[in-house]
């Protein structure tokens, strides 16, 4: 039980409080995008997966690490793209919004 563990525990406890504080007042229409956005954020596990595969010495570790990177990437990419698609729908309804729509058609 070294200082390192204590340092990580400190980070953990502070992050708990920040996590609760930061979303304390959210209108219910944003619950879903918020859930989806935080879903993308825990995709940071892909960083851990990279470190695992990057340190792999045996075939077993390589296979597991490889799978972990795939799953982690799915989580990150899927999470952000889905959230963006949801939030796209919330854009303000102004005449200006017409312009990008025609651009999208042009693509």
């Amino acid at each position: 039980m070294g200082n390192t563990l204590l340092q990580y525990a400190t980070v953990l406890v502070l992050a708990i409080f920040v996590g609760i504080e930061i979303i304390a007042k959210v209108p219910s229409i944003l619950h879903t995008p918020l859930m989806s956005g935080s879903n993308a954020i825990h995709g940071v596990i892909v960083v851990g997966s990279m470190l695992i595969l990057g340190a792999a010495n045996t075939n077993l570790e390589e296979v597991l690490g490889f799978l972990a990177v795939i799953l982690g990437t799915l989580n990150v990419v899927g999470g952000f793209v889905v959230t963006d698609r949801m939030l796209e729908m919330f854009k303000a309804k102004k005449p200006a919004a017409k312009a990008p729509t025609s651009d999208e058609v042009a693509q």
Binding site: A15, I22, T32, H42, A68, V77, V82
Partner: protein
Amino acid sequence: MSRDTAINLIYLVSAVSFLVALKGLGSPKRARQGNLVAAAGMILAIVATFFKHVDGHALYHVPLIILAMAIGLIVAVPVARFVKMTAMPQLVAIFNGVGGGAAALVSITEFVHIKSTHPATYVTLEVLLGVLIGTVSFSGSAIAFAKLQELMTGRPVTYPGQQAINGVVGLGALALIITILVGSSTTLLWVLLGLSFLLGIAFVLPIGGADVPVLISLLNSFTGLAVAASGFTLGSNLLIVAGTLVGASGILLTRLMSAAMGRSLPNILFSAFGSVVTASGESARADGRSVRSGSPEDAAILLGYASRVVIIPGYGLAVAQAQHVVRELAEELEKKGIEVFFAIHPVAGRMPGHMNVLLAEANVPYEQLKEMDEANSELATTDVALVVGANDTVNPAATDDKTSPIYGMPIIHADLAENVLFFKRSMRPGFAGIENELLYNPKTTLVFGDAKDTLTKILASVKTS
């Protein structure tokens, strides 16, 4: 500045970007920006990780890492981009599940990697928690996905002795954890992986389809905690911060969502036991009563005489892809000088905000959408309430019937309006599997058929009249 310090600084920037993103996602104006900020922070962290040294050497298998990422990218982008809006909740479930799976794999692999160095007991404990929580999230999300995708029944799945069996599986997992802590056996770790997988399934099966959104939010929070546990094992502050942020905010969000349904979290998670009995009792009671039904043309005439109309959308609207037709109908009615607004129940559809997203997609002006409380205060002076694909969210049993499983859930009081037009595909009960008294209300006219067809016909009659 050493390599490690530089990388850790970049990780710090990423962690801050996640914070900024979560903050932004809480306000409609900055939500999209917030998401992009987090994405940028994530890319930064991933790029920095390529330059990191582990065990005193540069990353091995960089081509393999890139290959795995390419595979993930090739699968995720089209799926996330082109799946229909109605299937969004399933997508969130599945992308959450793979994250949990990744966290479990990271924990287990790290254990295999460091086992020869005889890690301290607390390290083993972190690994075990990562495996347990990550795997529960993985298999639980898979079942949630199956329920939402209607690959299996959306009703609570119960069987005799369910609580006892779940208890045994849970205790078994606990006993295993203690055994592994003492003996640090890799074989047993695999057994724990299997057992956690079962636990996730057993945990989700008895939860009814209407409660799945809350469940996904909870599983999302679990994945965050699993990521934090992996962060402890790997000694990564970034993973600890990001995972904990999601874990803590996820639990709060889950509570907010269950509060929006007027229920407590334990009630949602564990109340399914026995609810089947209640539901069947309800439908038996409803037998033999008559309902009034009408044609789309009758509905159009009723609407034509109204001066104020409220449209109450539900999941059926999403299924029928009728959001564009409903917007056209609203526009047509407004042209005739009829005031139209939409009443949005906080949990209408399969996720909170589902209806807002759907109607926004169809270009319904934001000002026409009213939240439940505001809508309820105006319903008494409304001539026609048009229930399109909603059911449980307008069920008066939630206020009247103490035996109903949805008792206590706030509802939109459609029955306060002068007339109720109820679109239904059949007399089948809603997602929660409960009979709806509103169907038998003398004010109610049922219009059978697919919501989109019906709306199209009504729109045609309204235009010609």
